[in-house]
């Protein structure tokens, strides 16, 4: 009876911990959804977290029975499953980023590595936890690896390169500029949490959203980077410095003048960012207009219209 109670208690504790973890995860996902609608992580790869749960329960049962060897084996097996699932999910996220961008380097092969770790965990659990002979346990591992490959595939190996009008490969330069811009936006977002003023916070959130939209436009068409150089090098960096400076200062000295100045600067930044976004959108329209004009002229010359 005592053992049963102990077992039930251990299972309850682990279930509660898992639920809390899931709740926190869902909340984080919801926050991300609010900030960047295009980057909501899918549920792909969640299965690899759920399927090995019996191994965790086996470890708890071994603990309740006082079986140290069983506890050790199952705990290592579950740890490996968890590591594999995390690597796989991270790999899936990197692959989604790679698919979304027009210019990208080949991501780290985390998905393949995760599949390998899951296969190892399956083989180890089949051998030490379920007491299958080593050859059979190896077969379990191979089936798991094949399943991961068929279901999730291997990682992309080819970089998506970008060359400018002169034919020069500028992939690294483009990626560097985008990463730097993303870092600046993340820094502004982080600093917003230190500022306790609802109005300024909502203005900063709008600026961050605008900056992300501009960055998405640049990621979709890196030719626009030349047009947005001032935005990336001057405005975004300036916005970051001003926000960080205000967050540091307003904690020590709270003056209405400082707040007014900061409010005015934020209004200007928002205006400039809106103009930048509009410019990029108009440039796309102009490009399309030019293409239509060229095509029409060619068709007229050939007597089609």
């Amino acid at each position: 009876m005592g053992r049963l109670l102990l077992l039930a208690g251990a299972v309850l504790i682990s279930l509660t911990a898992l639920m809390l973890l899931l709740k926190r995860r869902i909340r984080t996902m919801a926050e991300r959804y609010q900030q960047t609608p295009g980057r909501f992580p899918s549920t792909r790869g969640i299965l690899m977290f759920l399927l090995p749960l019996p191994v965790l329960f086996a470890a708890v049962a071994s603990l309740a029975r006082g079986d140290l060897g069983g506890l050790f084996d199952n705990a290592i097996g579950y740890g490996l499953f968890l590591a594999g699932a995390l690597l796989l999910r991270r790999g899936l996220r990197l692959e989604a980023e790679y698919d979304r961008r027009r210019v990208a380097k080949a991501p780290w092969p985390l998905k393949t590595l995760g599949g390998g770790v899951v296969a190892l965990a399956t083989g180890l659990t089949a051998w030490s936890g379920a007491h299958y002979p080593p050859a059979m346990a190896g077969a379990f591992g191979l089936v798991a690896l094949l399943g991961c490959y068929l279901s999730y595939g291997f990682d992309p190996r080819i970089a998506k390169r970008f060359t400018d009008r002169d034919g020069v490969d500028v992939t690294n330069r483009v990626l560097e500029a985008l990463t730097q811009a993303e870092t600046s936006i993340a820094a502004i977002e982080q600093t917003t949490r230190d500022i306790r003023n609802a109005e300024l916070n909502s203005r900063l959130r709008r600026i961050v959203a605008l900056a992300r939209r501009i960055l998405t436009l640049l990621e979709e068409d890196p030719r626009d980077l030349r047009r947005a150089r001032k935005f990336l090098n001057v405005y975004l960096d300036g916005a970051k410095q001003v926000t960080e400076g205000y967050a540091k200062t307003h904690g020590r000295v709270a003056t209405p003048e400082l707040e007014d100045n900061f409010r005015r600067v934020l209004a200007t930044i928002e205006e400039v960012f809106q103009e930048q976004q509009q410019k990029l959108l108009e440039a796309d329209v102009t490009d399309l207009d030019v293409q239509i004009e060229v095509l029409t002229t060619q068709l007229k010359r050939e007597g089609v219209i």
Partner: protein, 44 residues
């Protein structure tokens, strides 16, 4: 092979390998009795 069929077969294989191995581990863990510590073993 169509993409959905490949993914479906992959999921089946994952269920077969990971699901069976982990459920077997739980089964073995619940059914086998661990040897009691020497101090608690019955003395004849």
């Amino acid at each position: 092979m169509p993409d959905y069929l490949r993914k479906f077969i992959g999921l089946l294989l994952i269920f077969a390998a990971v699901g069976v191995a982990s459920c077997e581990a739980l089964w073995v863990s619940c059914c086998t009795t661990a040897a009691p510590p020497a101090a608690l073993a019955p003395h004849n």
